[in-house]
Symmetry: C2
Subunit: 338 residues, 2 copies
DNA sequence: CTGAAAGCGCTTACAG
DNA sequence: CTGAAAGCGCTTACAG
């Protein structure tokens, strides 16, 4: 049931009629890619304004123009981390008349095909689960791709963008801080892993921890592969009872909070006996007691840079021939837990 | 630079050639809206499978078919709350070959026009900021709309979907719990408000609080309009010093955590002297000390129902003539803070 | 300088 | 039973 005051879809034909010019002229004014008589241009501009005309993104995309549609692939849509990045990207996208679709990664063989078929103007990959071969295929197929370097993408070549979010350096600084506080027995506690898989060498945070420990001649120790918080708590208790530990570097703040609870339940004093550092600067860090020292990832900058690089990749497709790299810094947020 | 192993866009023409039938036949097989000779149908199906064909969503949308593109409008993309809802919706959307674009609400007059022009198959509104008139216009224009009832949408009519997420009842139960613990001086602490605006009558949580207090003959007291956590902490201290308070019902968990900190800094014991209840069951609730009693909103069900209703609205457009309402329940999560 | 025309990948009424 | 044709809203090479 349509009412009289329903929204209308204004087409190029409406504009042409309103302006009293041919439809072709309207297109050329919109796209600005041909000389158009000044008077006609004015008339078209007025008509566009009056009718609030916006060319249909679908029709344009069909003709090989931009679809004004971007895809963001994330491993975990529910995380606070991605929320901030997306929010930042969305602000920019909206200004450019662009929409961002979200997608979590799919093991699905068909996934790439689906993505490719949708004619996205660009794809931002914030998931560690897309294999190099798929990423490469996308790039080779001419799709502008920006990689958030959650894991290392060493083999990738061609024209694409990559944002190093500072995870490796950030992790080293966290561990260094613990070392400066004279912590020697520093345990790396990995994220929960639904598959029970352990901390990968390809994980930047783990690598930062490992390198920083080894360069200080300290022993590397890892607690990983836990599936649930309960399992983590239990295994942590076991580990803690058997080994000397005076510092914890946790892959995420949530993990840090979980082990802090476990420590406190055992009557261990933080940071007097054990120092704890998290990662991400989630909201919870300020609310737990003691407040949690952590590493801030500049999610605002990640979002802004991702969009900016993608734009260059799209607009200057022909002139960009090298990969575009951006290096971002993390910021240590010192609180009470160290 | 395209490589030999780049992705290809398979069109209907490719399928027709592969199957040795006319393009028309391919369309009818895909859409299943006309009798097609069994043999040909088989051949087409084989070709589709072999070539991994999927009709272009844009071309279909141009012809008035579904665009397989849905829009979700949220007030706060960064919140954990929306992350879970989106994640749930995305799972369903992907199965249906659909993408979900995200958008935060825009004051922008043009916003509706932009949305309408994009030919979304449907719009899910999870924002309190879109005025009734805009919502109504969208519905009147024939766009399938599902409303998450963050605020009351009493005036809206036509064919649309509405999910009552149980906020009002949930709030009443929170306050009732405090009352059962013999709390009498229960303060409602509102969310931070960038604009400094106070708790609206239209807010379900506030209404639940108010009604539950009044029905018990207890005084209503509100702390609202704070712009920052610092301002909230300061004003809370002032309020607490001047008034007797033995219970706090906070609009969100983050607010609850902030005031818990303020209480603890003043040496107040929770829950012995003051009981605190939050709302949302965010992750942080389990990590703070004392752990926070809160209300779980079934975000999984919200996401699932939203998609399900939207699907009905889209597919059975003609047979659905009444609004579709769904009532969801919240779940009290009792922890240590009460 | 500018318009008519072809065509992007589809759907479906129309005409056999 | 099924194909050629018109047309969705655009872009742009082509031909004045």
């Amino acid at each position: 049931m349509k009412y009289s005051n329903a929204l209308k879809r204004t087409t190029r034909a409406d504009v042409a009629k309103e302006a009293g010019v041919s439809e072709t002229i309207v297109s050329y004014v919109i796209n600005g890619n041909r000389y158009v008589d000044e008077k006609k241009r004015r008339k078209v501009q007025k008509a566009v304004e009056k009718l609030n005309y916006r060319p249909s993104p679908m029709a344009r995309a069909l003709k090989g123009k931009n679809s004004n549609h971007i895809l963001f692939i994330a491993d975990d849509l529910t995380s606070e981390h991605f929320g901030k990045i997306i929010s930042e990207m969305e602000k920019i996208a909206y200004k450019d008349g662009c929409f961002i679709s979200l997608c979590s990664d799919r093991a699905d063989d068909d996934f790439l095909n689906v993505v490719y078929n949708w004619s996205f103007d660009g794809v931002i990959i914030g998931s560690a689960a897309i294999p190099d071969s798929s990423v490469q295929l996308l790039i080779d197929s001419g799709v502008p791709v920006v990689l958030l370097e959650i894991r290392s993408y060493e083999g990738i070549h061609g024209t694409y963008g990559k944002i190093n979010t500072g995870l490796y350096d950030g992790a080293r600084r966290c561990v260094k801080l613990l070392q400066e506080k004279n912590r020697r027995r520093i345990l790396y506690v990995d994220s929960l892993s639904p598959t029970g898989l352990g901390a990968g060498e390809s994980d930047f945070r783990y690598r930062g921890y490992k390198d920083q420990m080894e360069s200080a001649g300290l022993p590397v120790a890892v607690l990983d592969g836990c599936r649930t918080e309960e399992e983590l708590t239990e295994r942590f208790h076991g580990y803690f009872a058997a080994q000397e530990v005076d510092g914890l570097f946790c892959r995420t703040d949530a993990i840090a909070c979980t082990v802090m609870r476990a420590l406190q339940d055992s009557g261990v004093s933080i940071p007097r006996q054990v120092s704890v550092v998290g990662f991400n600067n989630s909201r919870m860090c300020r609310y737990v007691s003691p407040t949690l020292t952590t590493m801030e990832i500049r999610r605002d900058l990640i979002g802004q840079n991702a969009m900016q690089i993608l734009k260059r990749l799209i607009e200057e497709k022909d002139s960009v021939t090298e990969p575009i790299f951006v290096q971002l810094e993390t910021e240590l947020v010192e609180r009470e837990s160290v």
